[in-house]
């Protein structure tokens, strides 16, 4: 596979997180784009590529947005891949810039949070979901993940205390990331364990809070970024694989198992060289699957790994082994802004690797692993993607 030399990521923006909003997806995507342009000192027409992900565009799409925003891109893509959308956008946009199909690509995930919008998305998610999962209690993805979590707990002996390790350290990180919607509240083990039940082993703090917001970044050549004087980071490796392990009766691993080694090889790094890890944390068990499948520990050792690892951004936890994880608080503590959630880990990693995380900095961060997981169709998540990003000061 061809490498990602010569292209870089810049202008990370997280915009407008809110529990509910009368504004639509167009507003969040447009405002995120405006903020990216402001940060980069670019004019709208300097952007000649546009990649967009959203669940709530309604009748609109990436192409109708070009008229709304009065842009004339020569490269366009729409990536409806939920938690993997940002990484898939990153891979597509990087190739477009390498090939010369576009010079600067804006990659944006954004969604509104209108009253009862989440219910509509869940009820109409896909044909399989309409016929075979939504009629069974209408819990949305909670039902599928309650079953997956239950299975994981029985098979590998994970406990709710283990899942708490992920949620609590992320809340600590969110306490140091001002935009996090739950960042003003602390979370104790007692609160976590005593939370009201949602579905099977899942309780309130295992589930993300749907919200509105936007996340975006720019992809361009390294020369261009240098010329613009923009802080940037590199893509050392990236991969994706979808509907992997399709014969597993219950999901307990994702496509990462099939390309994690290749990623480390391409980056000439190992898991021990990763300074921060951003997993897609729609539920704590999914973060554990990613830690296992990306080689941080063996399959089934996720519970022991999080027990023995300090996941805080500043290494202030008691455990000797440190792995800053979901350093802005992840979706569990920031909120899940629809498709923006699939961009969150990339945007936060760019901030960290370019020294632009003033409140929650991972000191000396050089290598970030970002992982995405998405599209809970019927009984499992279908998309997997991951990338290793590197700071410009290698």
């Amino acid at each position: 596979m061809k490498d990602y030399a010569g292209v870089v990521l810049a202008a990370p923006v997280s915009f407008g997180y809110a529990r509910q909003s009368p504004r639509g997806a167009n507003w969040f995507i447009g405002c995120t784009l405006a903020e990216m342009l402001r940060q980069a000192g670019l004019a709208k027409d300097d952007v000649d590529g546009l990649a967009v992900s959203s669940f709530s565009l309604g009748a609109d799409s990436a192409i109708t947005l070009t008229q709304h925003f009065q842009m004339s891109p020569r490269w366009i893509d729409q990536l409806p891949y939920g938690g993997a959308a940002g990484l898939v956008a990153l891979r597509r946009a990087a190739r477009a810039v390498q090939a010369g199909d576009a010079e600067i690509v804006a990659c944006i995930g954004g969604d509104g949070a209108a009253h009862r919008a989440f219910e509509g998305t869940a009820a109409n998610f896909s044909n399989f979901t309409i016929d075979a999962s939504f009629p069974y209690g209408a819990g949305g993805p909670n039902t599928a993940f309650a079953l997956i979590t239950r299975h994981y707990m029985e098979r590998f002996g994970a406990t709710r205390e283990d899942f708490a390790r992920v949620a609590l350290d992320q809340r600590y990180n969110a306490n140091h990331y001002p935009p996090a919607l739950l960042g003003h509240k602390t979370l104790s083990l007692e609160q976590y364990l005593g939370a009201r039940p949602i579905a099977g082993p899942l309780h309130l703090f295992d589930c993300v809070m749907p919200c509105a917001g936007g996340e975006g970044f720019l992809m361009m050549s390294e020369d261009r970024a240098r010329h613009l004087g923009l802080p940037y980071c590199h893509i050392l490796a990236a991969g994706e694989l979808h509907n992997a392990h399709r014969d597993d009766p219950v999901q307990f691993r994702g496509g990462w198992t099939e390309y994690a080694d290749a990623l480390y090889q391409a980056a000439a790094l190992g898991p021990e060289d990763i300074d921060l890890l951003q997993t897609y944390d729609d539920y704590p068990v999914i973060s554990m699957l990613q830690m296992e499948d990306l080689g941080f520990c063996a399959k089934g050792e996720g519970p022991a790994f999080v027990r023995d690892t300090d996941l805080r951004f500043d290494g202030s936890g008691q455990q000797a082994r440190k792995l800053p994880h979901n350093t802005s608080g992840g979706q569990l503590s920031v909120g899940q802004a629809g498709s923006a959630a699939g961009y969150m880990g990339i945007v936060e990693s760019i901030r960290q690797l370019t020294g632009r995380a003033p409140h929650n900095p991972v000191s000396g961060a050089r290598h970030a692993m970002v992982s995405g997981f998405g599209m809970i169709n019927y009984d499992r998540g279908l998309c997997s993607a991951a990338a290793i990003l590197g700071s410009a000061q290698q």
């Binding site: 869940a122 009820a123 016929d131 039902t143 029985e154």
Partner: protein, 192 residues
């Protein structure tokens, strides 16, 4: 009252939570409607591939194994193995919200012997040996039977029972569906 306010008032009153009767989700895809039609006369009917014979679920347009375009509805064996069972304490849908207000709603994923995975409402009362009547006390690999029955929206839905539950007769199956309160709408007497 202005026209706009009247409309707002109507929308507010028209919320599912305000209605007297709430029913399970009615929406199905065209093949989902075929599933209901095929399941009316039998305990369980699934699509089977006319070329390779593979059973299919969820309902679909082409064979998931060999992509053969012709799938036929055929009676299927009801036996299967529990993958996981959970109690739902939260729902996005008013019918289940009202049911859950009374007691958690148990559902399960089941691997049928014919090789497909189904979600089903879980009839915990048929598991006589169960100490606590919650889905969490039902271990994986428990043998179960899965049959279909019409819910209060007149769609066929799947119900999982203990393997030794008699379900050969329609009346037996109806009694289980009724005991789950699946066949009647969830009523709110003061609703509109």
């Amino acid at each position: 009252m202005s026209k706009r306010q009247t409309m707002r008032q109507r929308l507010k009153l028209n919320r599912p939570s305000r209605r007297r009767l709430a029913r399970p989700p009615r929406q199905r895809t065209p093949v989902g409607m075929d599933f209901t039609a095929a399941n009316l006369p039998v305990a369980l009917s699934l699509q089977h591939c006319s070329a390779c014979g593979a059973a299919q679920y969820p309902p679909r347009e082409v064979c998931g194994d060999c992509l053969c375009p012709t799938l036929v509805w055929r009676e299927a064996e009801t036996g299967g193995t529990l993958l996981a069972g959970v109690d739902l304490h939260h729902s996005l849908w008013e019918f289940f919200k009202r049911r859950i207000a009374q007691a958690p709603w148990p559902v399960a994923s089941v691997r049928l012997d014919c090789g497909v995975t189904v979600f089903a409402h879980l009839a915990l009362h048929t598991f006589s040996a169960l100490p606590a009547k919650d889905a969490a006390s039902l271990p994986a690999d428990t043998r179960v039977a899965v049959f279909s029955h019409s819910d209060a929206s007149r769609n066929a839905v799947l119900i999982a029972v203990s393997a030794d539950t008699p379900i050969a007769e329609r009346g037996q199956r109806r009694a289980i569906a009724q005991q789950l309160e699946l066949t009647s709408p969830a009523e709110k007497p003061e609703g509109i």
